[in-house]
């Protein structure tokens, strides 16, 4: 049987969910007999090609992230939102409680570790920031959610195995986590 093709990407996030993925350890080796990675930060393949499963870590907070999200959606039969940022907005969504300009000013000018005597807020050659950060299901259709900050490796394993068996996974309470 041909291997199931998987692409992953990360948007506005800390890459912790990918680390949790790698935390599957020897079970990852077992999984690799059934799946193969295409575009992913793990393989360092940048261009998306049609795959069976797309996995997205992170929320959407700027134009570029939305473009990447749309690309992986177009190329995936099933899309997984991995982690709290992708599912809910997560830690990046904390900025939603502040005005966008306030956030930019704080980050580029005011923070204690910043040296920016000309008080420049970059706006050219950088993706445009959205007024608020949202989970990926606010932009594209999501088929499977695995929340957690990061999700338990067992939850990722459970979800992938269910998918390999041809079922859409529904995580039991013990494998759910919003922290």
């Amino acid at each position: 049987m041909a291997k199931v093709k998987v692409a992953t990407t990360w948007l506005e996030c800390c890459s912790g969910c990918h680390m949790s993925f790698l935390d599957l350890d020897e079970k990852l080796v077992e999984l690799l007999s059934k799946i193969e990675f295409d575009a992913s930060p793990i393989t360092d393949i940048k261009d998306f090609h049609p795959v069976d499963v797309g996995i997205v870590e992170g929320a959407v907070g700027n134009e570029e992230q939305l473009e990447v999200l749309r690309k992986i959606r177009e190329n995936s039969k099933i899309l997984i939102a991995l982690g709290d940022c992708a599912c809910f907005g997560g830690i990046p969504a904390m900025r939603n409680f502040f005005d966008k300009d306030e956030v930019l000013k704080r980050v580029y000018i005011e923070t204690e570790s910043t040296v920016n005597p000309k008080k420049v807020i970059p706006h050219e050659d950088v993706p445009k920031l959205f007024p608020s950060v949202k989970g990926i299901d606010q932009f594209v259709k999501v088929d499977v959610y695995i929340p957690g900050c990061p999700p338990d490796p067992r939850a990722i394993e459970y979800a992938l195995k269910e998918l390999l068996e041809g079922r859409i996974p529904v995580l039991p309470p013990e494998l759910l986590s919003y922290e």
């Binding site: 997560g90 969504a93 989970g135 959610y145 759910l176 922290e179």
Partner: protein, 613 residues
């Protein structure tokens, strides 16, 4: 009560008429998830999570507010019910900020401190299907003990109900409407500026991360803590507590009586809930002996005991005095008494011995908490009951609110109880007795009057309480005397505080001072003024008396010292230690028993004395 027959998921059960469906269902061993419901509080029916299907009813019913009826057929777990619960949870989770990852109560399913999160896991929410509402709500940090984050609030009203029904202080209520609704203190003040008495009952019942302790954060989830069930002996009221302990540190203290529906309703006061956690004094960890040059030198425990033996041998019994805190367990108090008797020392007393010496002349009857709840006139004389005996304060408020009792406050200091008073008489400290006669007529006209004498300052002062006691005897009024520390009654009955003070107060050469947890500033001023030549100090904490002491021994704090307490209502209870002491810290009985062995005084049996309490 009549028995009724009901069917739950097709099986037949009997329930008592008047029960709610929820009570009947839980009694039958079925589980229905709840959020706004809390054992011990009146049902609210606000969150709609406890809905069940009832045959014949076109809509789902909230099980917490619907009474059972004969022949009722209830279905607690149908697909329709499950779907409704998930829908309700989705609505709750998308209103305000329920991003769990930045809340300190958050955890995984087995260990979370948050009921809201637990319910969300149970209905298997893995994303927010509705757009999240991101308006900013205030965060109130003005209370000295807790934080109220309105962004986390689900408006279940548990805090409002506990504040009104149990604590009877009615500080909290809903204000504004719709999505702008807030839990407000005194309809719009910050908690720290309001009539809030910082008892923390609202914090204990909050099912979300909206009200949380300023001291518990990031010390560990309750599920990771060891749970110690005991009571709080600080003031002698003896509220039942559940203590969450991790790495020999208290993370949180909760009132244990709420679900048990005890008289106090599981309340605690500020002192009981936060006191042990807020304790900031430094411990005495090593025995100290003053050398010839007057400097403290660290010593081993054995060296300190030997030094004390030398001191005892150098002084005749009539030159030795013992003073002990009445916050020590009865075993310690009895041991101190027994040890002093073996030596032939007569000068022994507690710090508040005067309290019961002053009260001993009273021949009238004592008021119980029930008397207070049923009183129609309450005269509150003396100190601040909210600070000293906070839970008794709630009985007064309940009498005022529920029974329409009149509260008269006669005090030298301000108190938050005064907003419930009909009349406040502000007089100089010590002159409380002078106005007693003015209330004679008022008391005579009442049918269930109670006089409450509050605090050490008042009760130690014979002149201040004498007129009240005589008035009470004359008019047969019941009196409640609220002694200042946890074991004052045991100390009195064990004879550690003598009936007559004739033997006391004369200059002596050697003083044994057992402070326990009490700061020496609470001890009568004479102790520092008498001018003992030599002082042996046994204390858990660094204390001002150390500068007058010659030998200092580290003591156990009350949290580490198991023992018996006799509460203000006469109940005798065994306290289980919550924390473990360090090796050097000894209880007075351990230290005195080592001393007795070193001096060859033989064994001192205290168990027979303590069992007679």
């Amino acid at each position: 009560m009549r028995e009724v027959k009901i069917k739950i998921d097709g099986r037949e059960f009997t329930a008592t008429e008047g029960m709610t469906i929820l009570e009947a269902v839980r009694k039958a061993g079925y589980e229905v998830p709840t959020l706004c419901y809390h054992d011990g509080l009146s049902p609210h029916g606000g969150c709609r999570l406890c809905v069940v299907e009832v045959k014949g009813s076109p809509r789902l019913l909230t099980s917490c507010t619907t009474p059972v009826a004969d022949g009722m057929e209830v279905f607690v777990n149908t697909d329709r019910v499950k779907e409704a619960r998930k829908f309700v949870m989705n609505l709750i989770m998308t209103e305000r900020n329920h991003f769990c990852m930045f809340c300190e109560k958050s955890g995984r399913y087995e260990e979370t401190d948050c009921e809201l999160q637990k319910r969300a896991y149970e209905v298997q929410i893995e994303h927010f299907p509705f757009p999240v509402y991101v308006d900013k709500y205030p965060v109130d940090t003005s209370s000295p003990v807790m934080v109220t984050d309105h962004n986390r609030c689900i408006l279940c009203g548990r805090c409002v109900r506990v504040c009104s029904e149990i604590v009877a202080n009615s500080t909290l209520d809903f204000s504004f409407r719709g999505s702008k609704t807030l839990i407000a203190a005194d309809t719009g003040l910050n908690k720290g500026e309001s009539s809030c008495i910082s008892c923390g009952a609202c914090m204990q019942v909050c099912p979300a991360g909206a009200i949380f302790s300023k001291f518990g954060g990031y010390k560990g989830k309750k599920s990771l803590c060891e749970k110690v069930e005991t009571f709080c002996p600080i003031c002698g009221v003896g509220c039942e507590t559940t203590n969450y302990v991790r790495y020999n540190n208290i993370v949180e203290i909760e009132g244990a009586g709420l679900a048990k529906r005890t008289l106090d309703g599981g309340q605690l006061c500020e002192k009981g809930r936060y006191g042990p956690i807020m304790e900031s004094r430094n411990r005495i960890s090593i025995p100290l002996i003053r050398d010839a040059k007057g400097r403290f030198v660290e010593a081993t425990y054995g060296e300190a005991v030997n030094k004390v033996v030398q001191l005892l041998k150098a002084n005749s019994p009539d030159q030795i005095a013992f003073r002990a805190s009445s916050f020590l367990p009865a075993e310690d108090l009895a041991y101190i008494k027994g040890f002093a008797s073996k030596l032939g020392v007569e000068d022994i007393d507690t710090f508040d011995g005067d309290v019961y010496r002053n009260l001993s002349s009273f021949s009238g009857s004592k008021a119980t908490y029930e008397d207070l709840l049923n009183a129609d006139l309450i005269l509150l004389v003396g100190g601040d009951i909210i600070k000293e005996h906070g839970v008794v304060g709630s009985y007064i408020r309940r009498a005022v609110r529920n029974k329409g009792a009149e509260l008269m406050v006669i005090s030298s200091m301000e108190s938050k109880i005064e907003r419930w008073a009909k009349e406040v008489k502000r007089i100089a400290e010590g002159s409380e007795g002078s106005v007693a006669v003015e209330y004679k007529e008022k008391i005579s006209a009442a049918s269930n009057p109670v006089i409450v004498l509050e605090g050490a300052g008042l009760l130690r002062n014979k002149e201040a309480i004498e007129p009240w006691l005589r008035l009470a005897e004359e008019l047969s009024v019941k009196v409640m005397a609220l002694a200042p520390t946890g074991n004052s009654l045991a100390a009195w009955e064990l004879g550690v505080a003598p009936v007559s003070s004739n033997t006391l107060g004369k200059p002596k050469k050697l003083l044994f001072l057992f402070l326990g947890d009490i700061d020496s500033s609470y001890a009568p001023a004479e102790i520092a003024e008498i001018g003992y030549e030599t002082v042996v100090l046994h204390s858990a904490y660094i204390d001002a008396m150390m500068k007058l002491s010659d030998v200092v021994l580290p003591g156990k704090s009350w949290l580490e010292n198991e023992g018996t307490y006799k509460l203000l209502n006469g109940e005798v209870r065994k306290f289980t230690n919550i924390l473990n002491a360090e090796d050097n810290a000894k209880s007075p009985r351990e230290f005195l028993s080592d001393l007795a062995n070193a001096m060859g005084l033989g064994t001192i049996d205290v168990s027979s004395l303590v069992s007679k309490l």
